[in-house]
């Protein structure tokens, strides 16, 4: 790899834990601002030549994600239940993190997302709060992210979108048959379809080639470097400064603090599972909405007996889930949806929460196809279809090329009882406590999903579907959760939040946390744009603080 080399004994300016959507941005911002940066990533350093279209490796095996055989996860619906092993959560585990294998949907939050408590009011059984920042505070950073990473889309096409200071740097991707059918149907229903904003290049950009429409985005690494992951954009830029070292296969087990309560670096297992202590003047944790609180909970000390930066007791609480439901439609002619990126059209008409519905929540609906051949054969057909034999085989021959999906992306309420904790018994392959997830829906989350299923069926019918069917959507069916949000929430009141409005912990002046864990509300899923905007903003603040000697 290119980039700098530091010794563990060098107290570098910044240590960044996690080289994903946020960590890559932070590393690049700090290195280009002149700071020395070491990035520790638990997964390997892979490149486009390492990727393939191998469905077995990337969707049936943990090719690019956390492997529960090495890092077990337990799940229970409530504290009263016994937690059982289950791949409840999933994250990208390599340099580039989830930005490598994500579907690449890149939605900005709406203005309302930052102040839903004020707009909607309190919700029983949940802690719905306003963010301490507004959309206007984040707008410049959304724009910066879109231009530095390379996002394709059409500004102004979504009448519900918040004001933008600049259009997208790249035009939208070519529309698929699902997009054409969806656009016709939603317009017929008086709705407002628009081209999907995606972190995929519709044209060559910054030395990278345009997308070849191979169709293997979700769950796969891009062989063309056309998916705008941090791996192919900001991380190389960070390394080119000569001030940033990305150290792969390094799994952090503890952040250390000194007697003054400042972070001094982190202890990690290297590829040979030797313990190494990397010194640093300041630390960024960008490990994701589950691994970040886990690391804080592991980093106990006399000063922080309940976990680092956890004076509020909220580290690991308010986990929000990746919610939604697939509704499939069968059409007369072949759509060949496996060609091209997953999503080309969507609507935000049902995005905002509306008290008139009688429950909190809302969602986006996109037209997509995210099945690959074997996955479709195992999980794509209607529940009442034959599961083996000649009729099954015949159906696959007709259905695979003629199915499209409408997927809802729905709100998930922050509940204090939804938590990431350390399992008291089960250990991972390094001897660290396994993650234990306690999560169940808020009733309003389920109500939102059900309400949108009706809308999804209505749209498919208007599109002329010959048959529609609803996929399972109960909480265990929505596993693994890939949008890991809320577990170190942002706020002004240090008793009610873990980080301040710049993603700096209230408790430790030189410790920043930035990833989905900061989220106060879930938006309508698709958290990556907001994670990266927060990362740009936090890095700018940290650079300013470091220059000022803080």
């Amino acid at each position: 790899m290119s980039g700098a080399k530091f010794r563990p004994s060098d107290a570098v300016d910044f240590l960044v834990i996690g080289a994903g959507a946020a960590g890559g941005v932070v590393a690049k911002e700090l290195a280009t601002a002149g700071f020395q940066v070491v990035v520790l990533e638990q997964g390997p350093y892979l490149h486009e030549k390492d990727y393939s279209h191998d469905e077995i490796k990337y969707t049936f095996e943990a090719g690019l994600t956390n492997d529960p055989k090495l890092q077990p996860i337990l799940h229970r619906k409530s504290e009263a239940d016994v937690a059982v092993p289950m791949k409840a959560i999933e994250y990208g585990r390599q340099v580039g993190g989830g930005s490598v294998h994500f579907t690449a949907n890149y939605w900005r939050f709406h203005e309302s997302d930052f102040r839903e408590r004020s707009l909607f009011g309190a919700v029983n059984g949940a802690d719905l709060e306003d963010w301490p920042i507004s959309y206007a505070d984040l707008e410049p950073y959304y724009t910066k992210a879109e231009y530095e990473l390379g996002i394709s889309g059409l500004a102004g096409a979504n009448p519900f979108e918040a004001p933008r200071s600049k259009p997208y740097p790249l035009p939208p991707m070519p529309v698929k048959s699902s997009g054409v059918l969806f656009e016709r149907a939603t317009k017929k229903l008086g709705l407002h379809p628009f081209p999907a904003p995606v972190a995929i290049l519709s044209r060559p950009y910054q030395g990278r080639a345009a997308c070849s429409n191979c169709g293997f985005c979700e769950s796969f690494g891009c062989e063309m470097r056309a998916k705008s992951s941090t791996l192919v954009s900001v991380i190389p830029a960070a390394e080119e400064t000569g001030r940033c070292e990305v150290r792969a296969n390094c799994y952090v087990r503890k952040i250390e603090i000194d007697s003054a309560g400042r972070a001094t670096g982190a202890v990690y297992f290297d590829a040979q599972r030797r313990e190494v202590f990397q010194r640093a003047k300041a630390v960024f944790v960008c490990a994701n909405g589950v691994e970040t609180p886990k690391l804080l909970l592991l980093s106990k000390s006399a000063r922080f007996p309940d976990g680092l930066a956890n004076s509020s007791g909220l580290v690991g609480k308010y986990l929000m889930w990746d919610l939604g439901c697939d509704v499939e439609g069968l059409f007369e002619h072949p759509l060949n949806e496996y060609k091209g990126i997953q999503v080309t059209r969507l609507i935000h008409d049902y995005y905002a929460a509306d008290p008139k519905r009688g429950f909190y929540g809302g969602g986006g609906i996109d037209a997509r196809f995210d099945f690959y051949p074997a996955g479709y054969a195992l999980h794509g057909l209607p529940a009442d279809a034959p599961r083996w034999g000649s009729e099954y085989k015949k159906m696959l021959g007709t259905y695979f090329s003629r199915t499209m999906t409408l997927l809802s992306h729905t709100s998930s309420l922050a509940q204090e009882k939804s938590t990431v904790t350390l399992d008291p018994v089960v250990k991972d392959a390094w001897g660290l406590p396994a993650v234990r997830i306690t999560y169940d829906y808020h009733p309003d989350d389920a109500a939102t999903i059900k309400w949108l299923i009706g809308k999804q069926v209505e749209i498919l019918d208007a599109a002329g579907a010959k048959k529609t069917w609803v996929q399972p959507w109960e909480v265990t069916d929505n596993m693994p959760c890939r949008h890991l949000m809320g577990t170190c929430r942002m706020g002004k009141d240090r008793s009610k939040s873990v980080v301040n409005e710049y993603s700096r912990t209230h408790d430790v002046a030189n410790l920043y946390l930035v990833d989905g864990s900061n989220f106060v509300t879930s938006g309508r899923q698709q958290p990556t744009a907001t994670i990266q905007a927060l990362a740009y903003r936090a890095a700018e603040h940290a650079a300013g603080a470091a220059k000022g000697g803080k």
């Binding site: 997964g43 390997p44 892979l46 393939s52 279209h53 191998d54 469905e55 077995i56 490796k57 049936f60 095996e61 943990a62 090719g63 492997d67 055989k69 090495l70 585990r93 070519p174 529309v175 698929k176 048959s177 997009g179 054409v180 059918l181 070849s212 429409n213 191979c214 169709g215 062989e223 296969n249 590829a271 059409f331 002619h333 072949p334 759509l335 060949n336 949806e337 496996y338 060609k339 091209g340 051949p373 074997a374 479709y376 054969a377 195992l378 599961r387 083996w388 034999g389 000649s390 099954y392 085989k393 015949k394 696959l396 021959g397 695979f400 090329s401 392959a429």
Partner: protein, 177 residues
């Protein structure tokens, strides 16, 4: 270790390929399964995806996929196969006294036997592996000649040009079926 295993993936597959060649040279066809068990599992796979209306599990070489899978990424499932097949053989003897093997049952008998277990975890495992062997990447030893992909209309190229399907072609003024 997943990271090591992942980094070494091509080597693992290459080693498997060599082992397969060696096994062939030794006169045996399979690496993990004995010949009789392979014949029994093959008969089940051929019921799950039969060779009706085009190539099925047999032509795709699904049994060779399963044999290799049980020596590689699915090695943890070997015990499930051992106990699952033993129970299935017992069931066969109960349902068809005097029969010798699943492979030698007639078509209707095989179907009846599978219907009796179709809601079990073991059947789901057999179904999953059969589908992976029919529609997975051919590098795993199944989906020979990409017959599975052809059967469902998946082309499997690295690049496509729009229009992709009937409706986007229609919208753009190009005809496509």
């Amino acid at each position: 270790m997943s990271s090591l295993a992942m980094a070494a993936w091509p080597e693992v597959l290459a080693a498997q390929e060599q082992a397969r060649e060696r096994a062939k040279a030794d006169g045996g066809e399979f690496e993990t399964l004995d010949k009789d068990t392979a014949g029994e599992i093959a008969a089940i796979a051929e019921q799950i995806i039969p060779s009706t209306d085009g190539p099925g599990a047999r032509e795709a070489g699904v049994i060779y996929f399963i044999d290799r899978a049980l020596g590689t990424f699915a090695r943890d499932e070997r015990e499930a196969y051992r106990t699952g097949m033993a129970e299935l053989q017992k069931k066969r003897e109960e349902m068809f006294p005097g029969s010798a093997a699943i492979a030698s049952l007639d078509d209707e008998q095989q179907k009846a036997l599978l219907r009796s277990i179709e809601n079990t975890d073991f059947f789901e495992l057999l179904r999953t592996h059969t589908v992976l062997g029919f529609l997975g990447d051919p590098r795993y030893g199944g989906n020979r000649g990409k017959v599975g992909w052809k059967q469902i209309g998946f082309e499997g190229w690295m690049a496509y040009q729009p229009p992709f399907g009937y409706y986007d072609a229609e919208a753009s003024g190009e005809k496509k079926e």
